[in-house]
């Protein structure tokens, strides 16, 4: 007969080994597939931290289940198990660890959140207008409207997002930004692109049957290239209807 204490030690050792192996495997990996903005970098480190914390939690339950399934089978023994109703010590540790984890994760999340969404000054503003099922980008300083979003590299960009009909959602995976476009109520986000290139974006909120095909394209280029692109765009003489004040 294995003593109760011995069962605990074996399981704890298995848990420790599996947790360490797991943490080594996940530490430092890139989870967001393409990272091209300051925001996406913050989000990726949040992903990695949460995954590191998840490993020992996952392993604790899995080892507990697997060990029990292997070692505590009745195998025809019809007697009852020990009449244990609880363990004050173990319950206290469990609660203490849960609360500590929650408070720690909350603190880390709050810092990241403020870093991503906190009020910031911007260097470049674009009005984003959405409708079923297309995106329009208006550059107030240049007086230009385009189908593609062009933003400068390494500068703080302020996007003010509107909708003409139903709820849409502006999402560019590589930038780690997503924001609903709400009719009657402009929303806004800030982002700083860090890698030059062309990135796909899409509508993330179900907006009718055209939702599947509601895509957009973002081009990130140096300020000079952006200015020359803006100057080549035709300037619409009357303001497009529905654009906000």
């Amino acid at each position: 007969m294995t003593s109760p204490r011995r069962h605990l030690w074996i399981a704890a050792a298995a848990w420790a080994v599996l947790s360490i192996v797991g943490i080594v495997l996940v530490a430092g990996i890139q989870i967001i597939p393409v990272i091209a903005s300051r925001e996406a970098v913050i989000e990726n480190s949040a992903f990695v931290l949460l995954t590191i914390v998840s490993v020992p939690v996952l392993m604790f339950v899995v080892v507990g289940l697997a060990y029990s399934a292997l070692r505590f089978r009745a195998n025809g023994d019809e007697t009852d198990g020990p009449p244990v109703h609880g363990s004050r010590g173990f319950q206290s540790i469990w609660l203490g660890v849960s609360f500590a984890l929650v408070i720690g994760l909350f603190g880390y999340g709050a810092v990241g959140l403020i870093d991503i969404r906190g009020a910031q000054s911007s260097d470049f503003e674009v009005q984003v207008r959405s409708e079923q099922w297309a995106w329009h980008f208006e550059y107030p300083d240049a007086g230009v409207v385009s189908k593609e979003l062009h933003i400068p590299l390494g500068e703080r960009v302020h996007l003010v997002i509107n909708s003409d009909d139903v709820i849409h959602s502006f999402w560019v995976p590589a930038f780690g930004v997503k924001q609903d476009a709400v009719p009657g109520r402009p929303t806004q986000i800030y982002l700083t692109a860090t890698v030059e290139g062309t990135y796909p974006g899409l509508c993330a909120e179900l907006c009718g049957f055209g939702h599947t095909d509601m895509h957009l394209t973002v081009v990130v280029s140096g300020r000079a290239a952006l200015e020359s692109w803006l100057s080549q765009q035709p300037k619409p003489s009357p303001q497009p209807s529905g654009s906000p004040p």
């Binding site: 009745a74 009852d80 959140l113 991503i116 969404r117 995976p173 709400v182 009657g184």
Partner: protein, 603 residues
């Protein structure tokens, strides 16, 4: 039943007829208004036809209710027709709910198969409009399954017996809450004939204001199911607090009863909010109001708040009964007392309270008030503490137990795994920085299937196998039960685990088509999902066949200690000849207080 159908038909005829006449007289009336009135009158006609108001009308008219008639409404043992009538016996109502829920589970599952058929390969087969309707209907129906199966089915059948009562507190309202369901369920099932609806079950305006009549059908059905849910919640609460047998103190109640008590409290408080929000949305559509019409000063975010103020607690309305069923099964098959029972009770109550403070985590990218992200992130992460206690209780009970791996116990193990994955991935969605990337992707789809299927459906299967001998008086086939478990669990994980990866890679939810790079994985998922469906066929066969041919079940085949196992299988029509005296807690394994199992129900 026939009279009920006639009643409904009369209601429809009066509704359509009167408005057609009004139209003829020159009034401007649109189809939505006709559908609204016809449905309202159909529900009332149906309920009158089935006899739901018979006793109340008699009573209100000042006449004496004939006791023989009241007795007849309770039904006679062995008479199959009582399952198709307005019967007041809680056991009949439980079976009605359970069978209805499983039928709906099959229909909604078929809709899921259609979705996976469309998604198996990039490109379009059904088409975008049809896909959105199929997806929305699947969601609406499965939500209903999760809401009614354990509470209405197992809860109605077992709660009175488990607390030593002869019936629910209000048997007639109990039957009413069931008979409110057939018409809305039918209406949702036929919504494709009314043009379908493409808003998903969340029905966000303005999309849900511009959509077809099928959309309106869904809204009306949802409100009706909500009313049924509120009525049934009141009944459960009164039953639990007023009908317990002597000696059945609150802290001697089986944990399943505790789970349903908290659930009923949530349903009572939260459901009225969503019923109001959906009614306002209906008014916007049918009566021309502007609660949620931005073009006329309405507010769309307001709807999101009202919707999730119910629909997040609703996740716990679906989940808690499953957790209760799981914790009920664990001690029996581990032959040990439930670990940390008082803490588990406290955790259910805490989940109930906290569930009202987390709704806006569905709205982290919605454009709601900026500061509100922070408190909601905190409360959402806090709720993982009481939810974690469920794992503490289950693992603590299993540890050092004498485990009997009968089918219900296998579902417990499957539950712990699935709900653990659901819980861990939930933290990624509670954390705003990661949620910005993940919201509205397949990560969310995978997460909520791991929690709702993992919590509710695994709990439902565990409970259904566990209580099957009690309800039917027959044993199910253990071999088929195990086949069902392994097949379902492997296929379930093969379906939903890859979806986490799809979501991180950027596949949006609620789309009929996707970039071709996701093609291989989606084909695999469709194949695995089809296997879930096949495994459920094994379950259905086992249940139906064993009910007729299974070996007769002993009163207490599992050697459990709770009251329902101390009476015959199936229970006599009045449950107990004498109301039992309860002298010990429900899980006294290992001779804790020296009360033999059979002695607990001493009269």
């Amino acid at each position: 039943m026939l009279r009920a159908v006639l009643g409904a038909a009369t209601g429809i005829a009066v509704g359509v007829g009167s408005l057609t006449l009004a139209r003829g007289a020159g009034l401007i009336i649109d189809d939505g208004q006709v559908l609204g009135l016809a449905y309202l009158l159909a529900v009332i006609g149906f309920l009158f036809g089935i006899g739901a108001f018979r006793f109340w009308v008699t009573w209100a008219a000042g006449r004496q209710v004939d006791p023989a008639e009241e007795h007849a409404a309770h039904g006679t043992a062995g008479d199959w027709r009582r399952y198709f009538r307005f019967t007041t016996d809680h056991k009949v109502i439980g079976v009605q709910y359970l069978v209805t829920a499983f039928l709906l589970f099959l229909i909604a599952g078929s809709f899921a198969m259609l979705m996976r058929f469309e998604l198996a390969q990039p490109g379009l087969v059904l088409g975008k409009e049809a896909y959105n309707t199929v997806m929305s209907t699947h969601g609406a129906m499965m939500i209903t399954v999760a809401l009614i199966s354990i509470i209405g089915g197992l809860g109605n059948y077992l709660v009175p017996i488990m607390i030593g009562a002869r019936d629910m507190a209000f048997p007639k309202t109990n039957a009413l809450s069931y008979w409110l369901l057939p018409l809305p369920i039918l209406l949702v099932a036929i919504n494709p004939l009314l043009g379908g609806f493409d808003s998903g079950w969340t029905a966000y305006p303005p999309l849900s204001q511009q959509a077809n009549l099928g959309q309106q059908a869904y809204l009306m059905a949802f409100v009706t199911v909500g009313i049924s849910s509120i009525i049934s919640a009141i009944n459960f609460l009164v039953t639990v607090f007023r009908m317990r047998a002597p000696g059945m103190s609150l802290m001697r109640m089986p944990i399943f009863v505790w789970a349903l008590t908290v659930t009923a409290t949530l349903a009572l408080i939260a459901t009225s909010v969503v019923a109001a929000a959906f009614t306002m949305l209906l008014f916007d559509r049918v009566l021309g109001t502007s609660f949620f019409r931005p073009s006329r000063g309405g507010d769309v975010i307001l709807f999101e708040h009202l919707f999730w103020f119910y629909s997040h607690p609703a996740v716990y309305i679906m989940g808690l009964p499953g957790l209760g069923a799981i914790l009920e099964v664990v001690p029996v098959f581990a032959r040990k007392p439930l670990f940390a029972y008082p803490l588990a009770v406290l955790s259910f109550i805490s989940i109930g309270v906290l569930s009202f403070m987390v709704w806006a985590h569905h709205m982290f990218v919605s454009g709601m008030a900026e500061f509100f992200h922070i408190p909601i992130m905190l409360t959402t992460e806090l709720i993982s503490v009481p939810t974690g206690i469920v794992f503490l209780s289950a693992l603590g009970t299993i540890w050092m137990g004498k485990l009997h791996f009968k089918t219900p116990m296998l579902w417990v193990f499957g539950f712990i795994w699935a709900f653990l994955i659901g819980g861990i991935t939930g933290v990624y969605l509670a954390d705003v920085p990661t949620d910005i990337t993940l919201s509205d992707t397949y990560f969310v789809v995978a997460h909520f299937h791991y929690t709702i299927v993992g919590g509710t459906i695994f709990g439902l299967f565990a409970g259904t196998y566990y209580w099957y001998p009690k309800i039917t008086g027959r044993m199910y086939s253990e071999r088929l039960g195990k086949l069902h478990f392994w097949w379902f669990t492997l296929a379930f994980n093969a379906t939903f685990l890859p979806m986490f990866w799809l979501g991180i890679e950027g596949m949006r939810r609620r789309v009929a088509d996707y970039p071709s790079q996701f093609g291989g994985l989606n084909l695999w998922i469709s194949f695995a999902a089809f296997n879930i469906f096949l495994s459920v066929a094994v379950f259905v066969f086992n249940m139906v066949w064993s009910w007729r041919r299974g070996p007769r079940a002993a009163p207490n085949p599992w050697r459990a200690h709770t009251l329902e196992w101390q009476i015959s299988s199936p229970p006599p029509i009045q449950n107990f000849d004498h109301i039992p005296m309860v002298s010990a807690g429900p899980y006294e394994y290992g001779g804790g207080v020296g009360v033999p199992a059979e002695g607990r129900a001493a009269q």
